[in-house]
Symmetry: D2
Subunit: 376 residues, 4 copies
């Protein structure tokens, strides 16, 4: 079935009506080095088969009725036909059992964020992965944007000097009202499927990873004030967290899903002794860079000013690449590792574990009346 | 000296090398209804005289050596020559004695912000003004921008519905390093002249007034984490405050003077049940307005969409008005009140008192380890 | 080889070092409905094979040494294995013979722009296609952007009223200096490979199609002043064209490849009696819409305000899609036609012919001293 | 009446309902070095008096019934009371007789643009001024913006290298419909009061001056296609002009008053061999600067990067100054010349004459069917 030399993967989730599963397929295949060969696209076996055959153009025998069946079925295939990694693109509560089973079966894993439902689960996955020696990526996709990587590089080479202030904000408005008929809304606002945090599990977690990815700083203490503005909603849909970092930097992280009019407004600003940078996902291909007593410089994806801004682009500057391309860059790094080309530069279980710690501490702080809590 | 019918005013501060004093003169005179007739421009008598004669083109006998001399000298003049109000544009620690003396002498007062050094002083001024029955403005100048007034109107008429989240940020970078030779920096970072807060007295106070002016909400609790990043600086130069409002809204206010690359980046975003708005001083003539399930609308100063966006403009849409014009609008309102045209729409001692309460509570919270404190 | 049900295609061009060929592959495959099965990736047989096997992961027997070999080889394959369309992504001078041969062999064709080297060639291809009854797309990719389609819809439903002024500008800076070592620059500035126009063949042609696509207006007369600023360059690298349209509208089209600092700055503005719109590729997911006496509205890809802005998106509003996704939308339309789902909405030979007429007339006008010429 | 040492001026025009006259008063007085002392505010004597006394707070004897009366009345006053310059802020057709009479009476003149109705008139004024040796400013106010002056400096010091392409566009939408009740519209669209050009006299003339001011280039040939889109309008309301400059640069100038949604959108872009710059009045305090192979730099009014961007500011960077301040900078330069402080840097009769040549040639070209014409 598969083309010569392409890395083969399976997909869990992504069936009819899914949002992110099909995007994972696009991103994983974008650079032409990998190919979807199988899937467990739905918990409903008939729907799973139909999605696989009609939506993904797969043969019926690679459309499995469950992830367990897929893992078992693929293990039985000859090594040169078998899937080589599995993408987990399901509601949060399924990440842990699926990732655990996939690792136990020896498959490399790409898992959506947040990694799972608790720090304990996260640490189990980390330990298991270390025993199994297979790659594991957590798709904090914003870390795949060229200008986010350029930002990380600028911090790393010291352009900003010692960091003083970090601001990260992730604002959406789509949950400003109850959304009883929206499947995506349902599982994200249900503790059974989303876990202990709503907005902070869904997007606050992205913000935490983005700021950690770019700055390399460790959060030592936080104070979180979470809110649930929409009546009868069980989980937070908004909140602010004040942050203190090792080394003395301070920060604030805001996340909201009730910010009417905001689409998917993720932004990061980092201020250091000698310089600062600012990035907004809405203008993902630009990075604003200030140095003391210099005019603002606008670094651009594919443009001059930063090697890191060029590496993960597919097109010359001025030909916008977006969300799918950013996710594809994480896959490119992951796949190149599977191809034996050395370790890939993608978020893994360290990010996954740290992300669960962040979520747990945010919920703990807020539950205790927005008191400061230490972060390990 | 003065032209027929113009309101006459004096200026305290604003001598050679001053920043904001000359701007007050420009703003007060911009609309042609008032005229500078005297001043106490410097604590150094020779400098005061020279500034008045050479910079402000005043006759020597209206250039006073002290504010006390000015108040006395003007009181002795005939009513149709005497100054009618005094502008206090000095370092913070002088606001209280000067305003107190001016009120006691029966003069109307325009005083720069923050009003004074303590809530107690602020309340004294408020009480004194109520006894003297003279107008008193506190120049929170950002409330003079047309689109800030349009924002207030949108909130007031219910376009946003009940407010849930308020974000206000005021970032500057000019104090990112020690500024031993900068007079403006010196007094703002010295507790003797600036009071108990540095950054939060200087610009955090503007942010508080802006969000209160637009939303009409009352802060009930706050949690502030202030920082002093530059070595040997005595006062805060940065900080974040989490806010809780009467009625359940939440907010975050950030102010910094060490945000390298930021010029004077004041921004406000307000999110309600049904709509939101966003304003940035850097693009002061635009107001972004979202309503549920509608495309973003950009209201413009002088343009369609809001009567409040037109009233305080002097030019058709597209001819930018700026900081001086915003301040001039406050003066226009103040002067029209002096002309007997009814109460003006400008910030007064209520804002001044509330501003001092905010500053005191922010400092108290931060000093106690960034604990939540109640705000009266 | 191919997956069940996917449409199979071949690629001419796109070998090592190519820019646009690999992008065509990504775009054609993005939505999971088509699959590259063969190619003639280079005029150098060894390079062609290596590109196919290593870059595209194809079996060696589907990596052909020439497009002629590919057409012949694929025709011999069984119908359910054979490629179903061919993508021509080569320098301009090869478009005509390749497209002609592909059509003659009965293959559907996707050809890059400009279609060929002359109006005569273009008309030959159009006539041949009409006889062969196979789909033919010309990849004017900017017409795949959601907000370009939303713009077309707004014009079509009359939001702007009768159109008065059209402005289209396409500015790049990468050819501001001679580029002797840049393969992409070489063929674009060589009349043997690029045809009679340089900048206007390469990007002026995009601008013409974009404005025609959105407005539906026909150019009746034009006056072009082309320039060659870089010494020893054989073709135009810059120019301005004044336009007159049937019905009385006027316009101006500017294209340049010597505009230092411009990346790929394509923009369109259309002004009508009652409204106007503005689109810039650099912010491809926004469309500015003005109506008389209304505030500016910003329509967004995937957002409210226009069905046409939602249809061609893969992600919710605020998750940026870019250049590859726009091109993929053209492929999606083309492939759905091949799947028998009715006529696709993509630029075809009518656009290709009109584009060649435009180029010829622009060159004619400029050569005659920037005189007005009639356009048929 | 006037303050010690202030320069005294009179104003012609600017009475009740006027737009630009009051703005001239604000701008002239902004920096505290000049004072309005008299005026001929309207052709209607009663209205003239009322405007002067009520709007401008002047004594009745300085409110003249005509400009002739004002010139005569002021000449009779003692030298230390007499006005020192006169501002002409009337419809275009009055500029010439008023300026001529003022010069003949020995007064310095500030005249709005366009200078008059013909090149011949313009040259007469120039000759007369040279005989009278008094300063004469033409208020092309956009040349007072700090970033326009910074742009001129960047060109002058060679940052862009030899200039290749110049684009200037001035778009408004307020005349997209007939405006029978709008006094500002009436005289601007009436050949008796506006002269031979409508849109190009009113705003095209600004665009010509702006590009000449910044680039220093001379137009040698032009080809203009003017339009009158609104029925029954007598003058152009829209048009495009292709430009050729001495030295080989090319350009395009667009002006429109029917561009629905455009407020006052003046923009300039200049592309040279080694760099480029872009300025937009809507973001007047920023200047975009590109140099080959460098990231975009954004120079800011009052910010680092250019001495010319700091000199004409009154406030630190980030405190927006706008249209009035830009005009005030021209007055500052003019007034400082009157104060004997050396020649001021403001547009004068050379700009005025060149502007009339431009208008005449544009009309001539368009009238001849948009043919190329030589510009002296």
């Amino acid at each position: 079935m598969s083309q010569v030399g392409k890395i083969r993967f399976g997909l869990v989730g992504g069936g009819e009506g899914a949002f992110i599963g099909p995007i994972h397929r696009m991103a994983a295949e974008l650079d032409g080095q990998a190919e979807l060969v199988c899937g467990a696209f739905s918990a409903d076996p008939e729907r799973a088969r139909r999605s696989g055959v009609e939506q993904y153009q797969l043969p019926a025998d690679r459309c499995y009725a469950s992830y367990q069946a897929m893992l078992a079925g693929e293990q039985e295939r000859p090594a040169d036909k078998r899937m080589q990694f599995v993408i987990i693109a399901t509601p949060n509560h399924l990440h842990f059992p699926m990732a655990q089973a996939a690792l136990a079966s020896g498959f490399a894993v790409v898992c959506d964020k947040p990694l799972c439902l608790s720090v304990q689960q996260a640490e189990e996955l980390r330990d298991l992965q270390q025993r199994q020696h297979v790659p594991f990526a957590v798709t904090y996709n914003y870390s795949g944007y060229p200008m986010v990587r350029a930002a990380r590089q600028l911090v790393a080479v010291g352009t900003l000097g010692s960091i003083r202030r970090v601001q990260c904000s992730y604002l959406q408005g789509w949950l400003a009202q109850a959304q009883p008929d929206n499947k995506q809304a349902q599982w994200r606002t249900d503790p059974q499927t989303a876990g202990g945090a709503g907005c902070f599990g869904d997007i606050g977690s992205h913000a935490e990873q983005l700021l950690s990815f770019v700055t390399g700083l460790s959060i030592t203490r936080l104070c979180a004030d979470l809110n649930t503005f929409v009546p009868d909603r069980a989980l937070d849909d908004d909140g602010t967290v004040m942050l203190q970092f090792a080394g003395g930097a301070k920060g604030v992280l805001t996340a909201s899903q009730i910010a009417v009019g905001c689409e998917n407004d993720l932004s990061l600003a980092v201020y250091g002794e000698r310089g600062s940078l600012e990035w907004r996902q809405a203008e993902a291909n630009s990075l604003l860079v200030h140095e003391l007593d210099q005019p603002l410089r606008v670094h651009r994806a594919g443009g001059p000013g930063s090697t890191a801004a060029v590496a993960p682009t597919r097109l010359p500057a001025g030909h916008p690449e977006g969300y799918i391309e950013a996710l594809a860059t994480l896959y490119q790094e992951f796949i190149s590792e599977l191809q034996g080309l050395g370790p890939g530069d993608y978020p893994g279980l360290e990010d996954g574990v740290r992300g669960m710690q962040f979520i747990e501490k945010v919920v703990e702080s807020s539950t205790r009346g927005a008191q400061w809590v230490d972060v390990a």
